[in-house]
Point group: D2
Chain length 146, copies 4
Amino acid sequence: MSENPIFHFNTEVRVRLPETDAMGIVFHGNFFTYLEVGRVDYLRNLELSDAARPIRDFDNVVVAAHLDFKSPARLDDCIRIDVRTREIRHSSFTFEFRLRNKSTNRVIADGYTTHCAVDGAFNPISVPDKFRETIGAFEQWDDAER
Amino acid sequence: MSENPIFHFNTEVRVRLPETDAMGIVFHGNFFTYLEVGRVDYLRNLELSDAARPIRDFDNVVVAAHLDFKSPARLDDCIRIDVRTREIRHSSFTFEFRLRNKSTNRVIADGYTTHCAVDGAFNPISVPDKFRETIGAFEQWDDAER
Amino acid sequence: MSENPIFHFNTEVRVRLPETDAMGIVFHGNFFTYLEVGRVDYLRNLELSDAARPIRDFDNVVVAAHLDFKSPARLDDCIRIDVRTREIRHSSFTFEFRLRNKSTNRVIADGYTTHCAVDGAFNPISVPDKFRETIGAFEQWDDAER
Amino acid sequence: MSENPIFHFNTEVRVRLPETDAMGIVFHGNFFTYLEVGRVDYLRNLELSDAARPIRDFDNVVVAAHLDFKSPARLDDCIRIDVRTREIRHSSFTFEFRLRNKSTNRVIADGYTTHCAVDGAFNPISVPDKFRETIGAFEQWDDAER
């Protein structure tokens, strides 16, 4: 996790019964579903997503996924998901997330997912310029960071 | 559910933590995943399944799914899944299931799923003869039932 | 399914990637999660739900679950979930659902779940009056039906 | 991931249809369910697990979860899950995993989960000696590492 990242986008989910487990809290693996919702909502807001696939103009695979868990989430909790793009490299790009309990503002988890742009045979391709530019503008990166 | 159906095939699953919910028992919708496991194992045993799709020679969609729940299942329970084919009609066919707790023999649930054979555009097709014959032989149907 | 049921409540969900499967459509078992969302939103609207459990004043178990599938749902589809209570008996009660694609209005599935009010040892209890009256008023049942 | 870790335990799972997604591969978040299966089977083999909860003698929460994905897994693939305990600290302990396609031996993913021993109020407690000793003996740690 970056130190004190600034998030310009957030969305939210409410915890559903099948996402909890017999320990009474959300099963840790299900938070990656919440990250998926956050990422798709973030990309939809930039018109980079479409119905057919999570990123409109190219396929991607997740190459790394990480979460640090700070406090449990429970049935019916509203979770605010902060989403940002941390960096875009030649073929890969990383989204960063922070999840908070909406009513207490307590941090539930933070972490990231790193993706690789791929062709139909799952070989890496370079990240298309339009994707890079749209996100760079939204995140207010100066040119050095893009 | 048929009255006193005879099952010639069974398989088993062990309840995983994310399949339970905050009520401390398996979420009812997750039993349809266990039926999927039972159906695929049943078809694999008849060499009617393959890696690419649940039924080797044609696509299918589920058109009805039903379960009656008799007793709860909990974390780490071993569940025995009895599977049979109840009938094969022109385009549709129905599998019947009974789930028992393996160590107590108590019935957890029983029910069925009805499937329709479809082409690539999701239009009904007639059930291929090989599928009909292989299952009829295994289930020991006489010709009137096939 | 009742013939031409009238629904006074609806809510919606958007299909998430992990709810789809390799057939390219929502896995049929995951629709029971959508029914759960519909049922909880329906009960919350009547102030019969709370954070701790799906029904505020008593525990319940699902005793039957049924869906008929009419057309597939795909990634990112918005699904409108119509919810009603069909009947409340001594210990059991049945919710009825219809799921439609929000942008095409095509029916995706309809069905029901039947629940039993239980005590802490999973023994049936009679459905509390407040639950019965609140729902009867919302559904505009006359006294004969309650 | 440690460099060239040696695994003394493995178990396996077969990919189920609802674990795949519309991209045709296993949804990345579902691999954390496979890690759960691996961890519970590892602990059961050491008689440290029981039916009531994943670790018999104390509760735990996951404080970090990480996976690096190397190649996709598909419907019906058999996945071999290698499991080891990497370290046990005062209150926390880390399991390490490697997932391989059983028929090709290709690595699918590797990663770890870190857990914290907690009391009923989710406060950290020290890891019980029996857990520490049983695992240290199985992993053939010398005393310096325990």
